[in-house]
């Protein structure tokens, strides 16, 4: 299996074949995660830096676990523990990391384009774990993996992404990936939380939840940040929840076996009702499990590509 990329900056760089390789590799690693001893020596002696300049628990833990299960050494560098708070530039942080000669850098950063910035300056693999509002490719890949495990294919399926689309890297990457895999993607949220020039995204956008979920096979809720109220984008969370909180009742017009996703962490009663989050149709915990498998696959593909002599 050849892997043509040095870095993973966004899903837009991947071909359908690339995505198939990731899915196939992830499926093979998923099995490891159900063994009593969840560790293989694939990346023994390799080092992975987890550079998180923005708070994150689940994505960082997921990458950490993925690396360790492949026997890689993982090193976490978080914002509070890094020199960024002391005013070190991203360039200097990156040069320092590079001098440590890791095999891969996983980066989470609050600025759009930060992963691209790092990737241009280092020779090792860079995996984008979320950059500003721009992209979150590993989340999109794990969401697709989760849905593919249930459905086998995304062709002919309708997926609605609900919530704060404008500020969401998860939405941006999922629109690209799910569309590429044949799904019809719809966006839903109040106009203030839909991105400007959303017509350029090539998907339907709605402000009416009922219309958006009509016939949908899956609805992906996004986390709502409290700051949106302070920024004047929402009157308050109560009114938001009244119009957009996903519940069994709100799903009345969706496909009968509609699935529900959420990248987490969830705000119960705001973007998703508590009963729905815990219901059988919820894939939220499957997403967490898929996340480890997909990130194992990505670390494996990116770190071992040089050994295999894959061409870019």
């Amino acid at each position: 299996m050849s892997w043509p990329h040095k870095d993973l900056l966004d899903v837009s760089q991947l071909s359908r074949d690339d995505v198939a390789v990731v899915m196939k590799t992830a499926a093979s690693f998923r099995e490891i995660n159900s063994r009593p001893v969840k560790k293989v020596p694939t990346l023994k002696g390799r080092s992975v830096v987890l550079f998180f300049a923005e708070p994150s628990t689940r994505t960082k833990t997921s990458f950490d676990m993925a690396g360790k299960r492949l026997s890689a050494d993982t090193f976490a560098l978080t914002k509070s523990g890094s020199s960024l708070v002391k005013g070190e530039s991203l360039k200097d942080t990156v040069l320092t990391l590079l001098a440590m000669n890791p095999d891969a850098i996983v980066i989470r950063h609050g600025e759009s384009g930060a992963a691209d910035f790092v990737a241009r300056r280092v020779s090792c693999a860079v995996i984008n774990a979320g950059d500003g509002r721009h992209a979150h490719p590993t989340q999109a890949l794990l969401d697709a993996f989760t849905l593919l495990e249930k459905w086998g294919t995304l062709a002919g399926k309708t997926v609605c992404i609900l919530g704060d689309i404008a500020h969401s890297r998860v939405a941006r990457s999922n629109v690209i990936l799910l569309s590429m895999l044949g799904a019809e993607v719809r966006l839903c949220g109040p106009r203030t939380l839909l991105p400007p020039s959303v017509d350029g995204w090539g998907v339907e956008a709605h402000s009416d939840l009922k219309k958006a979920v009509a016939g949908a096979h899956a609805v992906m809720c996004l986390r709502l940040q409290l700051e949106r109220q302070q920024a004047g984008l929402l009157p308050d969370l109560r009114e938001y929840a009244g119009r957009y909180c996903l519940s069994s009742a709100a799903l009345a017009g969706a496909a009968p076996d509609v699935r529900v996703l959420h990248p987490g962490p969830i705000n119960r009663g705001i973007e998703i009702s508590s009963e729905l989050a815990d219901a059988g149709q919820s894939l939220i915990l499957d997403q967490v499990a898929s996340g480890v498998a997909v990130r194992m696959a990505l670390l494996h593909l990116f770190i071992t590509r040089k050994d295999r002599g894959d061409k870019e």
């Binding site: 360039k91 600025e111 759009s112 384009g113 020039s197 350029g200 995204w201």
Partner: protein
């Protein structure tokens, strides 16, 4: 007629088929005569200008020279070196220095530094702060600043949200007979985004500033100018919506003048692709439609002048993720080449460029300038319209190498620049003409 003590022969004037000789005496223009081969100008210094185009020196009504306070980005000496090489004899520098130019002592410091480093020009004309500290709360001491040498007032970079205060600033400045220059930006709408709100920003996940953020303030300003009958100058207009408002205001006789910059005529928001911080500028680069509206507005006189908004930054300041980079493009040395490219495309003619970058700004702000009439200062540029050059950090005298032109090849280049009949800049084969200390220093680093 008095005899010339300096002549440049065999020159081309834009859009004129026959060659001419430029004749000067004691730093002033005597006249422009048809070139007569073999004419000996006795007792005159004579330069053969064959192949070169004669242009008047330019006036830049909008530059940031960073001194005092941010000399790592630029200082007055390096900024004026860039002006000399770019063909500018007059440079108006904005007040957002550190400390802000809101007291006479800062203004005097600036003009002193200019006179020390470039005694023969380019001439520096400071623009005073409109409000103390540019904070938008209290008027700056404009009479004191005018006395010290400020030629206009502006809160550039820190737009004044308070309409009442802005009105009073216009009234107060009008007593002094000086213009207010307004950076039009509704400061609550994506301040400092440096990127247009549109398809590109949406895809890149960058917050964008919509063009209405500029146009709202343009509308306020022209309404105030109409109501008060006090002139206002609008800095760096970037979009069609602003042009439409200005056009209507001018049709009604409102005393408004406006500028735009070469980068708004050449680049669009697409330049930001790849998170290119060199294309991060405020107001941001807009769309193709805006570019066309601006060019038409220049041709029709809706926009009166071109200015550079020269905004130098250090390399390390621009080598960051897009959101962290400061806004600004270093523009003094690419302005003329970029502007004349538009004449090649037939969008403007050379006469337009002279009007927009020389005559009009000098008239609006009452600065010395050359129209090649007898007695005008002998401020002129010898320009090679065919010379191609690649913009590299080494090719620029400015400390600020931050331009989206880096790596691009431009056609047309300033070969020599004279102010008051003395060379302030020469390039390549014009080395023999370099006779003053200043020009010796600048020559050779950059041929």
């Amino acid at each position: 007629m008095a005899l010339p003590d300096f002549a440049v022969t065999n020159l081309t004037l834009p859009e004129t088929p026959h060659a001419v000789d430029l004749l000067c005496r004691k730093g002033h223009v005597l006249g422009v005569a048809p070139h007569a081969p073999g004419t000996a100008y006795e007792n005159a210094r004579v330069i053969d200008g064959r192949g070169l185009t004669l242009l008047p020196s330019l006036t830049d009504a909008h530059a940031h020279l960073r001194e005092p306070g941010q000399e790592w980005k630029e200082d007055i000496a390096s900024g004026l070196a860039a002006a000399a090489a770019g063909g500018f004899a007059n440079v108006m520098c904005m007040a957002n220095t550190s400390p802000v130019n809101d007291t006479a002592s800062i203004t005097e410091h600036m003009t002193k530094r200019a006179a020390e480093s470039w005694p023969g020009g380019p001439r520096l004309f400071p623009i005073g702060a409109l409000t103390k500290g540019l904070l938008g709360r209290e008027l700056a001491p404009m009479a004191e600043l005018a006395q010290a040498g400020c030629v206009a007032f502006s809160n550039d970079g820190r737009p004044v949200a308070d309409a009442e205060l802005f009105r009073h600033a216009m009234e107060y400045a009008s007593d002094l007979g000086l213009h207010v220059i307004d950076h039009c930006e509704e400061p609550t709408m994506a301040p400092g985004a440096g990127m247009n709100e549109g398809r590109v920003s949406s895809r890149l996940g960058l917050p964008g500033q919509p063009d209405v953020a500029e146009a709202i303030q343009v509308a306020r300003d022209v309404l105030l100018a109409d109501y008060l009958r006090i002139p206002i100058h609008l800095a760096h207009v970037s979009c069609r919506r602003s042009v439409e408002i200005i056009e209507r205001a001018k049709a009604k006789g409102v005393p408004v003048t406006a500028e735009t910059c070469p980068h708004y005529l050449h680049f669009t928001e697409a330049e930001v692709e790849g998170y290119n911080t060199l294309a991060k500028v405020n107001p941001p680069l807009r769309t193709r439609d805006d570019v066309l509206a601006l060019i038409q507005a220049l041709r029709q006189g809706v926009i009166d002048i071109l200015a550079t908004d020269h905004a130098p930054h250090a390399d390390h300041e621009k080598e960051t993720p897009f959101g962290e980079a400061p806004c600004g493009i270093s523009g003094l040395e690419t302005a003329l080449s970029l502007s004349l490219v538009l004449t090649d495309k037939g969008m403007l003619d050379a006469g337009d460029i002279i009007r927009l970058f020389s005559t009009n700004p000098a008239r609006i702000f009452k600065l010395p300038h050359n129209t090649f009439a007898p007695g005008d200062p002998a401020d002129f540029v010898l320009f090679d319209p065919r010379q191609a050059w690649t913009v590299t950090p080494e090719s620029l005298f400015s400390k600020g190498k931050n331009t989206p032109c880096l790596g691009r090849t431009l056609t047309g280049r300033v070969m020599a620049h004279f102010i008051g009949g003395q060379p302030v800049f020469t390039r390549g084969e014009f080395a023999p003409a370099a006779t003053t200390a200043a020009s010796r220093r600048i020559h050779g680093r950059n041929s």
